[in-house]
């Protein structure tokens, strides 16, 4: 396991503090959503500040794993959506914001984007005081093409050093694709058997902004709500399909799963299909229509027989 250089994060922390303090005191924004240190050694948690004096609480470290975009969705009513809001975003988080803008959930002019040049974050924060290495880095970071966010209002002037890493999802998807359907089914049944329907995967997803999830309905019941094999499998299939063509790849679903179910594998498989079928992939670009919400005459029609 080789250490990954995160020395730029100290300077980024300083720059975020200065910028957040400035935009708050100048009244450019009403609040800034960022990260702050928490009680456990090395840990970080989301914070919403509205007082310029609190800007000094903001940090950026390898434990700043959350995709804060979730706090700007209509599903999160605790964050007042009045006035312009500042938000600290890594590249992966910015892809989610771009997706939300494309789905008319957010307006660019209501946001002040503080982009973070990112060398990667930890895969799990079960023990947050962990050094960032090629072994502890989040799987999503091994395939990252968005270390430097663009189109932001402010990006600290740092360049992350990003070594080539083995692409963890690509390797795992290739392994699963090589299995027989029965073996693959057995793999997912074993994984889903652990699911307890805590819905952490749904609650942290920026794209799960439905005010009432179909899967919470009980009259009529659309999906078995019970945490047993049929209901668990149905839930994870519905989730993956509903995110196809929308998922930005932030992997929050997988990070927060208390049962370690590799949920982002499903999302990455969908992303791979979307790339092959429609040459679509999540990016910083704001698209009016996603690949599955429009038709062009270039679409593959070979399935019509």
């Amino acid at each position: 396991m080789t250490p990954i250089d995160t020395s730029i994060y100290a300077a980024i922390t300083d720059a975020i503090q200065t910028e957040a303090g400035r935009i708050l005191s100048e009244g450019q924004v009403t609040a800034v959503v960022g990260y702050a240190a928490a009680r456990r050694k090395g840990s970080a948690q989301p914070i919403v500040i509205s007082n310029p004096d609190d800007a000094q609480k903001l940090i950026f470290t390898a434990a700043c794993v959350n995709n804060l975009a979730v706090y700007l969705t209509k599903a999160k009513k605790e964050i007042p959506k009045t006035g312009k809001i500042g938000i600290v975003v890594k590249g992966c988080d910015l892809k989610a914001l771009s997706g939300l803008m494309g789905e008319s959930q957010l307006k660019r002019e209501d946001l002040y984007l503080i982009g973070v040049p990112c060398a990667g974050v930890l895969g799990s924060t079960v023990q947050p005081a962990t050094e960032l290495t090629t072994g502890t880095i989040a799987a999503k970071c091994t395939e990252c093409d968005a270390h430097l966010p663009t189109g932001c209002d402010f990006v600290p002037n740092q360049t992350p050093i990003t070594p080539e890493l083995e692409q963890k999802y690509a390797v795992e998807i290739a392994r699963l694709e090589a299995l027989t359907p029965a073996e693959r089914w057995a793999y997912w049944q074993e994984q889903f058997s652990k699911c307890i329907k805590c819905y952490a995967c749904r609650q942290v997803c920026p794209f799960c902004f439905c005010e009432q999830c179909l899967c919470d309905r009980n009259k009529p019941q659309m999906v078995e709500t019970t945490p047993r094999p049929a209901g668990n499998t149905a839930w994870h299939i519905v989730r993956a399909m509903h995110l196809a063509g929308r998922c930005a790849g932030c992997a929050e679903c997988e990070r927060v799963c208390p049962m370690d179910i590799p949920l982002n594998l499903l999302n990455r498989k969908m992303a791979k299909e979307l790339k092959e079928l429609y040459d679509h992939e999540a990016s910083f670009e704001v698209l009016d229509k996603g690949p599955l919400t429009m038709f062009t005459d270039k679409d593959d029609q070979s399935f019509i027989k």
Binding site: A38, R39, R40, K41, S43, A44, Q45, P46, I47, V48, N66, V70, Y71, K76, K77, E78, I79, T125, V126, Q127, A129, E190, Q191, S193, K194, I196, K197, C198, Y199, A200, R202, Q203, V204, D216, N218, Q221, E224, T225, T226, P227, R228, E252, R255, V256, P258, M259, D260
Partner: protein, 334 residues
């Protein structure tokens, strides 16, 4: 009664019980995640990791059928699930923070309504606790008055010794019976020292003071402050050894189906959503407040106990880093 058992005899004990048809539930790996689950042999057992979910599910499963129904023409047949079918169980390798929660749950499940599903499993289960040798900075059992060697809830308690094997001490008839029925596997206690036990380093909370503050602060800015980041999932409640809320759902078709009892969590918006559409807990601060109030005030009001054993699981799994130990510490300093 105090005894000694070496590792080989312990494995023999578990394997023998399994052969006799006793269900042995112990920490094991399931698809990469440590969980308390039935084991097929002692070789499956792991003792060096805290299972991700608590031991409560040995009595209060994630999901269980409580009734089935069938309809044929005008004839409806309803069949109760008979708790008598629950198997005799040995719950082995339970951490003190998990074992201590079980007597706490007894209070609520045998209160105004006797929950036979919980109580019958409880009657049929012998609990073997295991002293804890590994803590991290999310652990805070010592802060809520327990310890890595607390025997609360255990019928038999094992302490790992230097040089291998375990010191065994029984605390109930069930624990005595386990030794008596397998006496050839246990020997007289020896003088070996215990392995160094875990040292959760959090200061002890003044739980009386915390409760006194909660008594007076149903409305307080603290709730907005801690819960503004809460995303409203059920992870904290589901991994908790003491959270015990459940939901009842009917699932099936017009012709046949089952009534099921599933874990529920006060963090969900749906938890208090009324049929009228009104929701008295209309935001995460109110929902999170309930979590703290239930653990450190309401349960104490009703049963004289705290509904938290400091296992730290909720701290580790919270997607947004909400830290109950930090919050209670903050309250105790007010």
């Amino acid at each position: 009664m105090q005894k000694y058992i070496n590792q080989q005899n312990l494995n023999t004990l578990l394997d023998t019980l399994i052969t006799q048809g006793i269900r042995v539930v112990a920490p094991r790996m399931n698809a990469g995640t440590p969980l308390y689950e039935p084991i097929a042999g002692a070789n499956e057992m792991i003792t060096d990791q805290l299972p991700r979910r608590s031991a409560k599910e040995a009595f209060f499963p994630v999901c269980e059928d409580i009734m089935t129904y069938e309809k044929e023409g005008q004839k409806v047949t309803v069949t109760d699930i008979d708790p008598a079918r629950f198997p005799e169980t040995l719950l082995f390798g339970v951490r003190p923070c998990d074992a201590a929660a079980i007597p706490v749950l007894d209070a609520v499940f045998s209160w105004d309504y006797k929950d036979e599903f919980f109580l019958e499993r409880r009657r049929k289960t012998t609990i073997v606790g295991l002293a804890c040798t590994a803590a991290d900075d999310a652990c805070f059992c010592t802060a809520v008055g327990l310890s890595p060697s607390d025997t609360k809830g255990s019928d038999l308690f094992l302490t790992p010794l230097e040089g291998g094997g375990y010191a065994c001490e029984s605390f109930s008839d069930k624990g005595e019976a386990l030794i008596a029925n397998n006496k050839e596997l246990f020997t007289e206690p020896n003088n070996s020292k215990s392995l160094p036990l875990a040292e959760p380093h959090t200061e002890k909370f003044d739980l009386k003071k915390v409760k006194a503050w909660l008594d007076e602060h149903f409305e307080d800015p603290l709730w907005d402050g801690v819960a503004v980041r809460c995303v409203g999932c059920g992870a904290c409640a589901f991994v908790c050894p003491a959270c015990h809320c459940f939901d009842i759902v009917d699932e099936g078709t017009e012709k046949a189906g089952k009534r099921r009892k599933n874990w529920d969590a006060c963090g969900f918006w749906k938890f208090t959503h009324h049929a009228s559409g009104h929701n008295p807990r209309d935001g995460q601060p109110k929902r999170y407040r309930n979590r703290i109030m239930h653990k450190f005030k309401y349960y104490d009001d009703k049963f004289g106990q705290t509904l938290c054993t400091g296992c730290g699981r909720c701290v580790r799994v919270c997607p947004v880093g909400i830290d109950i130990a930090g919050i209670v510490e903050e309250i105790s300093k007010k």
